[in-house]
Homo-oligomer: 339 residues x 2
DNA sequence: CAGGTGGGCGAAATCGTATGCCTGCATCGT
DNA sequence: ACGATGCAGGCATACGATTTCGCCCACCTG
């Protein structure tokens, strides 16, 4: 920038004013402006965001902290996040919170060089990292939480109506005639509790009780879903339908069913939750509950950007926005086999 | 930091020296060091990376530019990238290059506020964005290219041996007795050409010619694979086996086969390429060629970090590292049905 | 006892940009 | 003709850290 100033025979301040483009209290002659712009172009000038940030301006970075990358659901969410963020002129910095075992309290700085970012978006349940959450709370960056699970609602939050989603899936199974409906909850500890409870409540409501052993739990992975179904089918009274808390788990269930020679949907109906990209292309195509991911993420980014621009708003009590999921019927559900 | 200096009754320079921890030319009395450290802790001091970066130090940020997020393969690669980067003490900032149509030449700054990053890792073929590549070439940041496809080898590159991988898959099919082997190439324009050519060469080599119409092309998506298989099975002489250039496409093929009532592997064998996470859990489990993603990414990150630390090395002619893929036989391949 | 030596620390420059304040000059009004 | 006004732009400083110099003092040595 100094070079430009020298080459264009103006002061560095003028160059700054011209290049920032922003309306300034100081007027600039059009002729000078042109000269500066031209010189800048010739010299291939690129602004240094660091210096900008130093002066307190924004860095146009959004920090995304995601609990588990390998989860296809979050992979899709991140894509949406990046796209949305870029549409707002922001880049995304990824922070990884080790999914399991992170007992060594990881601090904010471990995860993200925070002061860098204008806002932080949390993807998934961060319960297990209280130190991290505390750091976040004490810092000035605005935070928006997505699918926070059981984390306390201390930040503005965007979530889906898990209860309604599970109920829609179960309702569908019941309307097909199923009664022996099992459920597989994906869990990093504590995750998806709302979905699990929705299942338990629904079963009690509809059938008076939850069939013992029908509420399975598994890691939130393909292999987890696989193993869970094997346990369920091993029972003396295997279910005729399985609801999964997650499409990822449901895909694992589908795979296990095939391995076990249990055809879906003839002998077993499966419904997932999330409608991740692959759900429409499984064998057979998965009936699931669609979570409007792009909308949810889009809303969250908009919030984050707003909070970043107007720190004053951060004072207000954290908002909570709930999106409604919708049942998508595909080919993995059918009436139970007669027998 | 000034506050700490005041509170600990030392100068700000001393605080910097103590906190940076780095071996400095200036010795510090242990007692002072302790006092400073304690004060810093009490004040909850967090370094400002911006200021650090301003002085020319590193920002510990690696820029990852990926062509297509929604591709499960890249999603996995990004996860690996983040994990590897964090292991080296780097964070990852994501840049998104619109997969299609990006005719409006997007500049480096559009994609990434580059000066921020110590290095850039390119994931996938960037051919279509010459302006972007040019910017990269003219900038000082070291660049490492991963799976560059047909992009010119202007940067240090890490790739897999596509020819060997395809050959391994085809060899497997042939050894099972298949002759009518089709191929589906996933392509964002120009992508996976090496794999396609490997198929063509193999077929010519082994059978004298490529059956006309057997070399299909499709977008690199689940739906693309689905559509491609439908076209193939519509032919008067449908194949008994399909090799896909990508697991994503292969999963689409599996889905289409099921929809068409063509059972895999009895009536159709399918082999993929990449061994993405889901490949082991499809219905049926996918025989594929494993790409050692973590190793590849790990190597790339190591390279990037090295180049970031020692800019001198960037002068040397760009290196090329090729990893060998390995065939993984699962349940989607079998001898062709007799008839 | 004087000069040398080196340990411990502070002052100040620096990185690139943004901005508040000030100044020089020309035009305008009376 | 002289002060008031307004336009254009320069000067200086701040942001938060790192880093180069150099200062001071205590101790060692001859």
């Amino acid at each position: 920038m100094r070079d430009i100033a020298a080459a264009a025979a103006v002061s560095q301040s003028t160059v700054s004013r011209v290049l920032s483009g922003a309306p300034t209290a100081v007027p600039i002659a059009p002729e000078t402006r042109q000269r500066v712009l031209r010189t800048a172009r010739e010299l291939g000038y690129r602004p240094n965001p660091l210096a900008r940030g130093l002066r307190g301006a924004s860095t146009n970075l959004i920090g995304a902290v995601v609990r588990d990358f390998s989860d296809l659901f979050f992979a899709g969410a991140i894509e949406a996040l990046v796209v949305e963020s870029m549409a707002h002129g922001y880049n995304v910095v990824l922070g990884h919170v080790p999914g399991r075992a992170g007992d060594e309290a990881l601090s904010l700085t471990t995860v993200l060089e925070t002061r860098h970012t204008d806002a932080v978006v949390l993807l998934g349940d961060m319960q297990q990292h209280p130190q991290f959450l505390a750091d976040l709370r004490n810092s000035i960056v605005p935070v928006v939480a997505l699918w926070p699970g059981t984390s306390p609602r201390e930040f503005p939050t965007v979530d889906a109506d898990d209860r309604a989603g599970i109920r829609a899936g179960l309702e569908h199974l019941v309307s097909l005639g199923h009664k022996r409906i099992a459920y597989v909850n994906a869990e990093l500890p504590n995750e998806y509790r709302a979905r699990e409870e929705a299942y338990l409540d629904f079963m009690r409501d509809r059938f008076g009780a939850v069939p013992p052993g029908y509420a399975e739990r598994s890691p939130s992975t393909l292999a987890g879903g696989d193993a869970a179904l094997r346990r369920l089918m091993d029972r003396p009274d295997p279910p005729t339908a399985v609801a999964a808390s997650t499409d990822v788990v449901a895909v694992g269930v589908l795979h296990a069913a095939h391995s076990l020679g249990v055809t879906v949907p003839d002998r077993l109906s499966v419904v997932g939750f999330d409608d991740i990209a692959i759900a429409a292309h499984t064998v057979p195509a998965l009936t699931t509950v669609r979570m409007p991911i792009s909308e949810i993420v889009g809303y969250a980014v908009t919030q984050a950007v707003r909070l970043a621009r107007e720190p004053a708003d951060a004072q207000r009590p954290p908002a909570l926005e709930i999106f409604q999921p919708a049942l998508i019927v595909r080919d993995s559900t059918a009436p139970p086999a007669l027998r």
